[in-house]
Symmetry: C2
Subunit: 251 residues, 2 copies
């Protein structure tokens, strides 16, 4: 049984990430959300607030994947150039989206009114639809397979909620974690042979050093519940047999 795999890419836009000032939280958040939708995040690029860099990344990635997400650069200030860059990448003009304008007019009615700078947040590539933002007025934007999200993680979280269930995907990747107080280098062979014995499974190995001891968490992944359970049980049994008690659920 071969199955269509749905893939996505993410472009994180922002000098604040590249300068080290801000710790990115959107990669992990969007990755986890996509996985639940049955879509796999396959590549991420972090680019500066430079139009050419955004255009290049968007155009390379939107044609390679089913979906392309961007985060950052959609506020009202001079360094917010995401909408212009993506419109250029798509070859369409930037227009004021009437629904976005109405949302912003409503949001700012009791917050000092819709100024010219605030109206910037109603701009969108021509042909876009909106992604609701329940926190701060300015909506996200969808154009074809391109999804333009906020940079502030909790606002993006709200936008993802609004999109939940609306994107076509395949079977989500299921996973099971097993932990063990063992040095990764001692069981490398065991991992290979276990993975090979269970077609359709994948085992990741994540070593750590804690409480003065080395240990490892293993994440077994599969889109099939049956393959996942068989592989995880086999891995635990092989670790136990080797004298390294397996801790189901991880350490």
């Amino acid at each position: 049984m071969s199955e269509r795999i749905w893939t996505a890419a993410l472009v994180v836009i922002g000098d604040e990430i590249l300068s080290g000032r801000t710790q990115d939280r959107n990669i992990a958040q969007i990755a986890s959300w996509l996985n639940v939708q049955g879509i796999r995040l396959r590549e991420v690029r972090v680019v500066p607030d430079v139009e050419d860099a955004i255009v290049e990344a968007v155009n390379q990635l939107r044609t390679r994947h089913d979906y392309l997400f961007t985060t950052g650069g959609i506020g009202p200030t001079h360094d917010d150039i995401t909408v212009d860059a993506i419109a250029r990448a798509l070859g369409v003009p930037v227009v004021v989206h009437p629904d976005a304008q109405a949302i912003l007019a409503d949001y700012y009615a009791e917050r000092g009114g819709l100024t010219e700078m605030r109206l910037r947040m109603a701009r969108a590539p021509e042909g876009s639809s909106l992604i609701p933002n329940r926190f701060s007025g300015a909506p996200g934007i969808r154009h074809g397979n391109v999804f333009i999200m906020a940079g502030v993680p909790h606002i993006t979280a709200g936008m993802l909620d609004a999109l939940t269930g609306s994107l076509e995907g395949g079977a989500p990747v299921l996973s099971e974690q097993i932990g063990c107080w063992v040095a990764e280098s001692e069981i490398a062979d065991l991992l290979v042979s276990t993975e090979h014995a269970h077609e359709g499974s994948q085992i990741g190995s994540y070593p750590f050093f804690r409480e003065g001891r080395v240990g490892c968490n293993f994440v077994v992944r599969s889109t099939s519940r049956q393959v996942l359970d068989a592989c995880a049980a086999d891995l635990a049994a092989r670790l136990d047999a080797g004298g390294w008690p397996a801790i189901v659920g991880g350490i």
Copy 2:
């Protein structure tokens, strides 16, 4: 005065980042460290544990920038394919580095000996030098302008320490933060005109919502201390004059 700007790119290698399992910490850590070295991180790509994807990213980025860093995929297990992929990208064979072998033999002397799987961590693209790892034996690898670092953040931190001061760079970017309880959209014009008044400065705007109020932190950046101080003082004065008291150091 025009000045040579030194740039770097980073390739983060790891399914665990793309699946959302692990929150990346290396982007911010390497970005901050590079900045102190006078080198600007200009692009980051996160790619899966897939040789073709690593080769493509490494070859696109190592020629565009003065330095290329990678993190992840240098452990002893089957999913650790970074060394092979980078050797292929560089067009050189993989060899066992004698110094790395000696380091590992020493490290594992009282930890069960240097097995075949552990010896995998002594493999390097031919012509490499080593980057000391004071935490766990297996060294990082340097080949020309390519720096191959660990995935575990504290191990990479130790490798960065070992490299401090050894990479040629330019003037580091200096920054000053100013905070204000104001909606970003109210002062967007003020930011543009302040930045324009101080050539060689850049102002980033980072809005937040805290304690029930909206606020913004502004980061002024410049490689010149004089330009930085003048721009930051001017920004604070303009905010004060607008009725929004500026909080030097940020909120």
